[in-house]
C-alpha cells in the first residue's frame, strides 16, 4: 500500500521536476495500468485509505483509476442485468462515501488529464448516474454530469471545449433529467448541434450510447409535447446503419408509431436509407402497435379502446401508457380537425355523431379546449348549437412572423456552414487528397468515384 502511494506520487513528481515540460499524462496512465498492486486490496480499504491521499484536481488520473477499480470490485457480476439493476446491490462498501467521492472526483477533476482516460471517466459517470437513478436522487447529479460532459469535450489540439461534440455521457444527463423530470439542462444539451463524436484511442464510442442518446432525446421531447422534434430523434435511432436489431431501436419504433399517430394521424414512413434489416424485422416485433395504428386510421374507436385495454399490461411494461392515453384523446381531436377541413358549419350533434363522442357537452368542452390551444379555429353558437369553422386567421403579415422567418433563415445558414466545414475537412483529408492524386492522370473524375 505504502509503496503504491509512493510510486504514484513519484510518477507525478518526476514530471513536475522537469517543470519546463507539461506533464506527460499518456505515460502516467500506461504506468498506472501496468501497476497491479491495488488489485489485491479490498474495495473498502481502497476507498478509505487510498482515495483521500490523492486530492483532485492534481491527481485526477490516479483518482479515476482507483475509483474505477473500486467500482469494478463492488458491482454485481451477475450477467443479464440491466445497468440499473447491476448497481443496485453493492457489496462490501460504504455506498454513501463512495458516492460523495465520486461526486467530488467528477466535479473537480482536471479536464486535461481526463482526456487521457476518457473511457474510465465516462464509466464513472455511467455508474454515478445509474446509482443515483436507483436511489431516486437523480436531481442531485444533473449539474455534476453536465459539468462532466463539458470536461470530456475538452480538446487539447485546439485547447478549447468542443460543445458540439457528442460523448457517451450525453445519454446519462438525459437519463437523469427524465428520472427527475427536470429538463432545463437536457434541453440546453439537445439544442447544441452535434457535429462531432468523441471517439479517440482512449475514449471508445459504442453505438449503444448514440442510440440511447437519441432515444432519450425523443423521450424528453415527447414529455414536453414537442412531437415534431420527438419524431426526428426517434427517426435518428432507427436510421443508424444496422445489421442487427437493438432493443433500443424496437422501443424507439414503438414510440415513433404512437407519436406519429398522435401528431400526424398516420404512421410516417421511415426514410429510404433506413437499413433493410431494420425495416424488415422491426414490424413483426411491434405487431400490436401496428394493429393499434390500423384501428386508429380506420376510425374504429371500439377496436382502438379494446386494444388499449387488452394490451394494457404490455403498454405499461413498455412505459407507453401515457402515450396511449394521449392517443385516445388525439382520436377525437384529429377527427374534429378533419371536420374543419370539410365543413364551414356543423351542428354540435352532428359533430358528436361524426366523431363518436359521448355527448354534445363533451364535444363542446373539447372544442372549447382546442380553440383555446389554437388547435382549431372555430366559434360555437350556443343559440342554435352550430359550430362555425374558420380558416387559419394567421395572415403571415405581422412582425413576429418576420422575426421567426429570419430566425429560421439564419438557422439554415448556420447549417449550411456546418456542412461546408465538414466538406472542407474531407477535401483536405490526406486520404482524400491521396486518392484524388492517384486518379489525377487516369481521367476518373472524383464524381465518378463517388458514384461508384
Amino acid at each position: 500500500m505504502e509503496s503504491l502511494v509512493s510510486t504514484v506520487r513519484s510518477f507525478y513528481q518526476t514530471h513536475q521536476a522537469e517543470t519546463s515540460k507539461p506533464l506527460n499524462y499518456q505515460e502516467i496512465i500506461s504506468n498506472f495500468n501496468a501497476n497491479t498492486t491495488f488489485q489485491n486490496e479490498t474495495a473498502d480499504n481502497l476507498l478509505n485509505n487510498l482515495v483521500p491521499l490523492f486530492p483532485v484536481p492534481e491527481f485526477t488520473l490516479a483518482t479515476i483509476t482507483i475509483l474505477n477499480n473500486i467500482i469494478g470490485k463492488v458491482q454485481s457480476k451477475v450477467r443479464n442485468l440491466n445497468e440499473i439493476e447491476a448497481v443496485s446491490n453493492l457489496t462490501g462498501i460504504n455506498e454513501q462515501k463512495l458516492m460523495s467521492e465520486l461526486e467530488n472526483c467528477l466535479k473537480n477533476s482536471d479536464h486535461k488529464q481526463i482526456e487521457y482516460s476518457g473511457d474510465m471517466f465516462a464509466d464513472l459517470c455511467h455508474f454515478y448516474t445509474n446509482k443515483l437513478i436507483h436511489l431516486n436522487q437523480a436531481k442531485k447529479g444533473l449539474l455534476t454530469i453536465n459539468e462532466s460532459i463539458r470536461k470530456l469535450q475538452y480538446d487539447s489540439h485546439n485547447a478549447k471545449f468542443n460543445t458540439n461534440q457528442m460523448t457517451t455521457v450525453h445519454s446519462d444527463l438525459l437519463k437523469l433529467s427524465l428520472s427527475s423530470k427536470n429538463f432545463t439542462l437536457a434541453l440546453k444539451l439537445m439544442s447544441n448541434e452535434i457535429l462531432d463524436i468523441k471517439k479517440t484511442s482512449c475514449s471508445t464510442f459504442d453505438a449503444k450510447y448514440y442510440l440511447s442518446y437519441f432515444y432519450y432525446c425523443g423521450c424528453v421531447s415527447a414529455s414536453l409535447k414537442h412531437f415534431e422534434d420527438s419524431l426526428f430523434y426517434f427517426e435518428q435511432v432507427l436510421n443508424v446503419p444496422a445489421n442487427a436489431l437493438s432493443q433500443i431501436m424496437i422501443d424507439s419504433y414503438k414510440k415513433y408509431v404512437l407519436i406519429s399517430l398522435i401528431y400526424k394521424g398516420k404512421v410516417l414512413a421511415l426514410p429510404k436509407y433506413t437499413s433493410r434489416k431494420v425495416v424488415n424485422q422491426i414490424k413483426p416485433m411491434c405487431s400490436v402497435y401496428h394493429e393499434l395504428a390500423s384501428a386508429f386510421i380506420d376510425y374504429e374507436l371500439d377496436k382502438l379502446n379494446s386494444l388499449c385495454q387488452k394490451y394494457e399490461e404490455m403498454f405499461e411494461r413498455d412505459r407507453n401508457n401515457g402515450l396511449i392515453k394521449q392517443l385516445q384523446n388525439a382520436f377525437y381531436k384529429l377527427n374534429i380537425q378533419k371536420l374543419t377541413k370539410t365543413f364551414i358549419t356543423l351542428s354540435l350533434s352532428d359533430i358528436v355523431a361524426k366523431t363518436r363522442l359521448n355527448s354534445t357537452s363533451h364535444a363542446e368542452t373539447l372544442i372549447l379546449n382546442m380553440i383555446r390551444d389554437g388547435e382549431v379555429f372555430a366559434t360555437i353558437n350556443q343559440k342554435d348549437g352550430m359550430v362555425s369553422f374558420h380558416d387559419n386567421p394567421e395572415k403571415y403579415d405581422n412582425p413576429s412572423l418576420t422575426n421567426q422567418l429570419t430566425g429560421e433563415i439564419f438557422g439554415c445558414i448556420d447549417m449550411e456552414n456546418n456542412i461546408k466545414q465538414m466538406e472542407n475537412e474531407i477535401s483536405t483529408h490526406p486520404h482524400y487528397i491521396q486518392k484524388c492524386q492517384a486518379n489525377a492522370g487516369t481521367g476518373i473524375d472524383e464524381i465518378d468515384q463517388l458514384l461508384q
Binding site: K199, A244, L245, I248, F343
Partner: protein
C-alpha cells in the same frame, strides 16, 4: 403424378380467389395515405346472388373450351338459383374432354347442390365411372402415343416435327386439364420455332394457358414478346386479317391481365385497342366482355376529354358497344352528365357483373371510382352548389351525399367545404399568399431536419458506428432504457 397435377386445375381457381381476397386485405392495410379506394369495401369471394336473369345457353354459347367450364363453375358457385342447371351443363362439356378430375369434382358439387335443394324433382346424372375409366385409359394411351411421336421426332432432329409434337402434347395436357404441364410443353417448343409465325403462335398458346392459370404477370410478359416479334417483322401495320386477329387477341389478353392487376387505366387502353372485325378469341372472352370491361375501366379512369375522343368517338369500340346496349347507355348518359340515370343503370347491371368471373372482384372499386368521378365532374363548374339539388341529381339523400363528399374532400379530390347548416357546398378559395408562407416555413423545417440527419449520418459513417450483432450475446442488445420511459 399427372393426377396430382390435375388437381391443380380445381385448386388454382380457389387459390386465385384467395389471392384476390388477400390483396384486398392488403390494400386496406396499406391505405394509410388517403386513396380513392378507401371507400371501397373488401371484396368478399363468397357472395351469392339470387335472382339473375342470365340465359344460360346464350351465356355459354359465347365461350369455348376450358374457359366455358370455368365460367359455368363460377356461376354455379355464386348463383344458387342456377346452380344445378349450370353444373349439369358443365358436366356435359367436361365429358367432351379428357379431364376426369374436373368431372369428378363437378359431379360432386352437383350432388351436393342436389342434396341441398328443397325441390325433389331434381334428377342428376349418376356418376359415370365407366366413362371415367375409359377416358383415363384413352388419355393415358394418347399421352403415350404423343410421347413416342415426340421422341421419334427428336431422334430425327427435325425441328418442325419436334415443335408440332410438343404442341400436340401440350394440347393434350390442356385437354386433360393439366395446365402446368401444358404450359411446360408449350414453353419447351420455343427452342424449335423457326419463323415469326411459330413464335407468335407459341406465345398465344402460352398466354391462353397463363390466363386459365390466372398467372397474369406471365400473360403480360408474353404479350410484350408477341408485340416485339411483330414489330421486328414489320407485321401488324398491314391490314392482314390473320394478323389483325392476332393483335386483337393479344390486346384482349393484356387487358385482362391489367384488369386483374388493378391497373384499370392500362386495362381500358388495351380493351379499346381491340377490333371487332377480326375478333376470334372465344376460348378466353367474348366481344361482349370486351365492351363491358373496356367501358367500365374507361369510365373509372379516363377524364372527360379522353372519354370523348377514345371511347365515344372510337369507331372500332362503337361496334363492341352495340353488343351491350346497357353499357352503351351508361357511357352516353355519363357523358351527357345525366348521372342519376347513369348510376341507376349501373345498379341494375351490378348483379350481372358480379357473376362475371373476371370483373367481379373489381366491380365495387370501379363503381366507386365512377361515382367519385361523376361527383367531381358535377361540381367542377360551380363555386357553390346546393346539396339538395346535387343529391337529386345523384339519386341519393343529402346525408349520404355529405358523407361521400367528406371522403372526396379529405382525399383532396374536390377542393371544397360544406356548409352543413344551409346544405351548400362551397368551392374553397385558397389564399395563395398564406399558402405560400405556410409551405415555405414547412419546407424550411424539412430542410433543417434533413440536413441534421445528413450530418449525423456522415458522423456515424466517419466513426464507423453501427449496430452490430454482439458476438456471444443474443441478437437484441439488452439495455436499460426500459427502466425509464416517458410519462
Amino acid at each position: 403424378m399427372h393426377g396430382e397435377l390435375m388437381n391443380n386445375v380445381i385448386v388454382s381457381i380457389d387459390d386465385a380467389e384467395m389471392d384476390t381476397e388477400n390483396e384486398n386485405n392488403l390494400s386496406i392495410n396499406i391505405s394509410n395515405q388517403p386513396s380513392a379506394s378507401s371507400m371501397v369495401q373488401a371484396y368478399n369471394p363468397n357472395f351469392e346472388i339470387n335472382n339473375s336473369s342470365i340465359d344460360l345457353d346464350m351465356y355459354v354459347s359465347g365461350y369455348s373450351g376450358l374457359m366455358r367450364i370455368f365460367r359455368l363453375i363460377f356461376l354455379a358457385e355464386h348463383c344458387p338459383t342456377l346452380r344445378i342447371d349450370t353444373l349439369k351443363l358443365a358436366l356435359n362439356y367436361v365429358m367432351e374432354t379428357h379431364n376426369t378430375q374436373l368431372y369428378s369434382s363437378v359431379h360432386k358439387q352437383l350432388t351436393d347442390a342436389a342434396n341441398k335443394s328443397t325441390c325433389q324433382s331434381v334428377s342428376i346424372p349418376s356418376y359415370d365411372s365407366n366413362w371415367v375409366d375409359t377416358t383415363n385409359k384413352k388419355g393415358a394411351m394418347k399421352l403415350e402415343k404423343l410421347d413416342t411421336d415426340l421422341k421419334s421426332a427428336k431422334s430425327l432432329a427435325f425441328k418442325d416435327c419436334i415443335r408440332r409434337g410438343q404442341e400436340d402434347l401440350a394440347d393434350h395436357f390442356l385437354d386433360m386439364g393439366d395446365l402446368t404441364n401444358a404450359l411446360k410443353c408449350y414453353c419447351r417448343s420455343r427452342d424449335y420455332c423457326s419463323n415469326n409465325k411459330n413464335i407468335t403462335n407459341l406465345c398465344l398458346n402460352v398466354i391462353k394457358v397463363s390466363v386459365l392459370m390466372q398467372n397474369w404477370s406471365n400473360v403480360l410478359s408474353y404479350v410484350s414478346k408477341v408485340e416485339t416479334t411483330m414489330e421486328a417483322a414489320g407485321l401488324g401495320t398491314e391490314t392482314n386479317k390473320e394478323e389483325m386477329s392476332l393483335l386483337c387477341k393479344v390486346k384482349c389478353a393484356a387487358g385482362l391481365a391489367e384488369l386483374n392487376s388493378k391497373r384499370y387505366k392500362s386495362a381500358a387502353k388495351c380493351f379499346l385497342a381491340a377490333h371487332i372485325d377480326n375478333f376470334n378469341y372465344y376460348e378466353i372472352m367474348t366481344p361482349n366482355n370486351v365492351a363491358t370491361y373496356g367501358a367500365l375501366c374507361a369510365l373509372a379512369t379516363y377524364d372527360r376529354r379522353e372519354l370523348q375522343t377514345h371511347v365515344i368517338q372510337s369507331s372500332s369500340f362503337k361496334s363492341f358497344l352495340e353488343l351491350e346496349p346497357q353499357i352503351r347507355e351508361i357511357l352516353f348518359k355519363f357523358n351527357e352528365s345525366k348521372y342519376a340515370i347513369c348510376l341507376k343503370l349501373m345498379d341494375q347491371m351490378k348483379d350481372y357483373l358480379m357473376l362475371d368471373m373476371y370483373i367481379s372482384p373489381h366491380v365495387d372499386t370501379l363503381y366507386a371510382w365512377i361515382r367519385q368521378r361523376a361527383l367531381r365532374q358535377y361540381f367542377s363548374p360551380y363555386k357553390s352548389a346546393d346539396l339538395r339539388r346535387m343529391s337529386a341529381a345523384f339519386n341519393t339523400s343529402t346525408g349520404a351525399l355529405e358523407e361521400e363528399l367528406i371522403q372526396l374532400i379529405l382525399d383532396g379530390q374536390i377542393q371544397a367545404r360544406i356548409d352543413s347548416q344551409n346544405k351548400i357546398l362551397y368551392a374553397k378559395d385558397v389564399d395563395q399568399r398564406s399558402f405560400t408562407f405556410e409551405r415555405s416555413l414547412q419546407m424550411g423545417k424539412e430542410y433543417q431536419k434533413r440536413t441534421k440527419s445528413v450530418i449525423l449520418r456522415s458522423l456515424l459513417l466517419k466513426y464507423n458506428i453501427s449496430v452490430r450483432q454482439a458476438p456471444n450475446q443474443q441478437q437484441v442488445q439488452s439495455s436499460d432504457q426500459q427502466s425509464i420511459g416517458c410519462k
